[in-house]
Amino acid sequence: MLSTAMRRTLRAWTILVLVFLYAPLILVLLNAFNSSKTFAFPPTGFTLRWWADAWASSGMWRSLGNSVIVGLCATAIALVLGTMAAFAVQRYRFFGRQTISFLVVLPITLPGIVTGIALNATFTSALGITLGLATVIIGHATFCIVIVFNNTQARLRRLGVRLEDASADLGASSWQTFRYVSFPMMRGALLAGAILAFALSFDEIVVTTFTAGPTVQTLPIWIFGNLFRPNQAPVINVVAASLTLFAVIPVWLAQRFGGDPATTRV
């Protein structure tokens, strides 16, 4: 049992850290309604004008569209490949199983800039491919596989193999067992993995920078490109505030569908 004084100190520290975590996010929300164009604090007045400006920004919508396309395609690839790898690792015993897990996790353990430069060197110098949406999708899918893999693997481990064995004993083929037994039981984990993978892809900027080339912009690339233009600041503030509000969605959805956002983001 810790002493009362220690508990009080710890509680005070916790509150301080929470303020540290949330003050910047609250500032982002406040600034989206600030009538002044600069970061000047306190805000000089309340306005919704910037929200209308952001709504009318064609660059924002185009890059948002690209982000959604990339996120959906990368998530689809990651769903298929991540689920296959998770089944192989959880349901079979073979030489090099540990290596597979390591290989899947590697793309998020190494910094994005290494992955980015490596893919860039491969696409441009080695293969001579023109960078575009397709190369971004390949890059994103590579680091999204682990998200699906982690979610699916955890669920498969919890489910055990008894029902699958029963299905096989009753004469179902592997595909029938997957389709009618395993898949319905792990739908939640797949959905959670897909949501988290999409969210990761949607926010990614480093690998994107190196695989997108100069013509294609995803939303983070567009934001970054406009971040230092003073007259674009109000629109950026609005987009930043909306993204902050939307951040709650993946956490909420993933938790509802039985994923674990705390462990899957890493």
Binding site: V17, F39, V80, V104, A240, T244
Partner: protein, 283 residues
């Protein structure tokens, strides 16, 4: 636990294993390991002085430049210093918080705190770095509230990176504190140990692997970062900026590849050092 297919299913199970394993393996080996191999090889290529095109003949010039030129050495040391400072700040902020979450808070408050700590992870990385740009701006809230701001530079970079990666430290440390049995803490205080002694002699050894696991993320993510430093770092040059500059501005892909071997080596070294602590099982 994995239960292998029974003997009656065995021949079929080899085929289905191959069917399951080949596509993801092919993707990761070709797209990822293949790219890392190209990265290693291309560090030994050069560029044509006139056209800037990559010339695929072997040269060790890039690697020699990376290892000998003072600019690169300073940036390397600065980047490692920043990564270590960020890691230290995250530890200081996270350990008491995680202890409170695991051992003091009621179950309801604990769950709320877990959500509160993980939700900012899903807020856009760029937005969070941008928030610090607002916060630290000369006319910003910090000046208004405290009358002073460190401005944009090295301190701002360290603060922003610590902010960005803090949840990655809190989560494994919290998990480690949760695994410390309450009976041990009670026994220690019943035997007359002051709180700080209990923390140092009972909790610290048990929680250390969690801290080490968190530090892998804070260190590795800081080593490769170049966006946050561009946003709040002023003129500060980290390895990431230099690599980006070589690739995009100077169009020298081989030198960028050679430079990116530094964070790669630093992280592999850090992982190897941390492996002895049992941190990798806690990641």
């Amino acid at each position: 636990m994995t239960v292998p297919g029974r003997s009656s299913h065995r021949s079929r199970s080899r085929i289905s294993l191959a069917f399951l394993l080949v596509p993801p393996l092919a993707w990761l080996v070709i797209a990822y390991l293949g790219s890392l191999a190209v990265l290693l090889v291309s560090a030994f290529w050069s560029t044509d002085a006139f056209t800037g095109a990559v010339v695929r003949t072997y040269t060790s010039d890039n690697v020699t430049r990376v290892l000998t030129e003072a600019v690169f050495r300073t940036a390397t040391l600065r980047t490692i210093g920043v990564a270590l400072a960020v890691t230290a700040i995250c530890i200081v902020l996270a350990v008491p918080l995680a202890l409170y979450m695991a051992k003091v808070a009621s179950p309801r408050v604990r769950l709320a705190l877990v959500v509160a700590v993980t939700t900012p992870l899903w807020a856009s990385y760029l937005v969070k770095a941008y928030a610090w740009r607002m916060l630290l701006s000369p006319q910003g809230p910090l000046t208004w509230a405290a009358g002073h701001t460190p401005g944009y530079g090295l301190i701002a970079t360290v603060l922003t990176l610590a902010y960005l990666w803090l949840p990655y430290m809190v989560i494994p440390v919290f998990a480690a504190f949760e695994r410390v049995p309450n009976t041990l803490i009670d026994a220690s205080s019943d035997l007359g140990a002051p709180d700080l002694t209990t923390m140092r002699t009972v909790m610290a050894p048990l929680v250390f692997p969690g801290i080490a696991a968190g530090s892998i993320f804070t260190f590795s993510l800081s080593m490769g970062d170049y966006i946050a430093v561009t946003i709040v770092g002023g003129k500060t040059q980290m390895l990431g900026n230099i690599i980006y500059g070589q690739l995009v501005t100077a169009n020298n892909q081989p030198l960028a590849a050679a430079l990116s071997l530094i964070p790669l080596a630093a992280i592999v070294g850090y992982l190897l050092a941390m492996r002895r602590t049992g941190a990798l099982e806690n990641v």
